[in-house]
């Protein structure tokens, strides 16, 4: 079975030969992969090296779409996009699904309380300018604009409680 795994600009062609063997970009490796004590916990012995890995699926795989998996490994996190041959072909055909991310959309990074909205609708802001102050666990956090632009939407007001991920402000 052939797969492609992508991390940033690194592409790995992984072919699973059997339970104990795979190739990565043509190079053979011995593997011993076992689920551990919890659903997301795995032990991988790769060419004799022992790794503990925690795996969470960020974006479940559906036919024709890649799966994105978050790998926690030796204290660091990696998001890996995994494609099968089929999903790769389908994507070539339909094109990559467009990202749901909006560059200038500012969401609450944690649950908390809006202390002060620092901008007004229509105001011009530069990347790095503070636009809103959110308090969580008694600490004030100033959130900065990720882009240069104009404030197009303000969804919250002072002293309002917000959930994590809630859209606060949109810079157009």
């Amino acid at each position: 079975m052939k797969y492609q795994a992508v991390i940033d600009d690194q592409k790995f062609e992984v072919q699973i030969i059997d339970e104990h063997t795979l190739t990565v970009n043509g190079e053979e490796s011995s593997i011993n992969f076992r689920q551990g004590q919890k659903p997301e916990h795995f032990s991988l012995i790769l060419d004799g090296q022992s790794h503990q890995v925690w795996i969470e699926e960020c974006q479940p795989c559906r036919d024709g779409k890649p799966s994105i998996v978050r790998i926690h490994l030796h204290g660091f996190d990696y998001e890996v996009q995994v494609d099968t041959e089929r999903s790769l072909k389908l994507r070539e055909f339909v094109g990559t699904s467009s990202s749901s991310e909006v560059a200038g959309q500012i969401n609450a990074p944690m649950p908390g309380l809006v202390v002060k909205v620092l901008v007004e609708n229509g105001q011009e802001v530069k990347k790095g300018d503070g636009v809103i102050i959110v308090e969580a666990m008694k600490m004030e956090n100033e959130i900065k604009s990720p882009i240069d632009g104009i404030v197009s939407e303000i969804h919250v007001q002072n002293r309002q409680a917000v959930e994590k991920g809630e859209t606060l402000i949109i810079i157009g």
Partner: protein, 502 residues
Amino acid sequence: MFKRILIANRGEIAVRIIRAASEMDIETVAVFSDADRLALHTRLADYAYHIGLSPSQESYLVIDRILDAAQKSGAEAIHPGYGFLAENADFARAVADAGLTFIGPPPQAIEDMGLKTRAREIMIAAGVPVTPGTESAIDPGPEAAKIAEQVGYPVLIKAASGGGGKGMRVVETPDDLIKAMESASREAASAFNNPQIYIEKYLEGPRHIEVQLLADQYGHTIHLNERECSIQRRHQKVVEEAPSPVITPDLRAQIGAAAIKAARACGYYNAGTVEFLLDRNKNFYFIEMNTRLQVEHPVTEMTTGIDLVKEQFKIAAGEKLTIQQEDVTIHGHAIECRVYAEDPLNNFYPSTGMVKYLHPPAGPGIRNDSGIYEGGEISIYYDPLISKLVAWGRDRSEAIVRMRRALQEYHITGVRSNIPFCLLVVEHPKFIEGDFDTHFISDHFRIEDMAPGPVDKEKIAAIAAVLAYHAKPAASVSASQPQNDGVSPWLSSGRRLGLRTR
């Protein structure tokens, strides 16, 4: 000695106090909010009383409910832990008025040291050196600007009732003064119910050195050496150690004597800490006194062998200190990391959620004081401290490698933690050399410059991802909710995350 005490706190410090009490055959009464029904402290205590809703303003900060629980449970004394009501003189008085013993200092000392301006006056009178600055609270405005100019920029704005970096701001130029004062004042109001702030000279490149004290009710005061707490992020201590790599025995005797003088000046008893800044010429200045047990107390315990909480109980019960100054030695070296549920990749914002996998470190020289458990929630309501991780070694370098080993062993999933960041700190050459000041983190770890994790692990990550996908091709790898970190929704391609110092 008390037969039963109530702990007006939660989390790891409540567990810490339960442990000491249990070793002294003292029964413990926990209080818990809605969110803490299944918390460790609720389960480990002998008694547990519900005191209200999850927000601490409706539970852990409500004096009447705590006193009510104490009366119902038959507790004779109350230990406040740190935070919450620990430095609230009204609470200490209310405890005494209810006929109970407050396990801490006299209310007057709490009050005097709690108002930083009053503390400065007392220290000046007692001959303890203080930093230049205002002596009383000041409003944001032209007068404040004038004083800041006199003291000389950069200046430090501090909350009169402050502590723990809350309501504190460094101001580099006159332009930023008023905005910073307003923000500090708001934070102070929210955190301490007191918007008053004052201005202090901001020392360049100081080290934060503090001295642990024990004093009984009969005037016997000793110091238990210093702690070095210069590794701070946004004025919050991150890594602490004992002893300090720069304090000589002579300087230790001097700063210890100054700390004892400070305690005597405010009629102090029980455990307390006097905080100093040490400048590059090894002059030290009083900055404040913490009239409570501190988060970093274990490094003192591990190098002196003295259990500070047990001593607190004994002092509060009216016993005399049995430890003489000459009994206090230094055995090896200890380092503490404050492990927080916060995401170093997302501006260290608190990371809340359920702890899905927890493997705490253990083994030689390691102490991990934790208040969390697998399946438990780290909630929005309280400080996101996961545990105090402490490593002891025969010398500083052994303590460092043990801390590194313990951090590498420590695995938590479900919430993000600052463990990778702590690792970067203890592996940093300047930290290993002991060559740092309170600017260490801002000098060496500018978040915006942090690079992703090591490239050489990418292949392993790719293989693990493929194998997990291969094992369950059409189903979810795990039933877990994707972690949406808000600012950066999941990208539609893979990416490397992680930290690396410049």
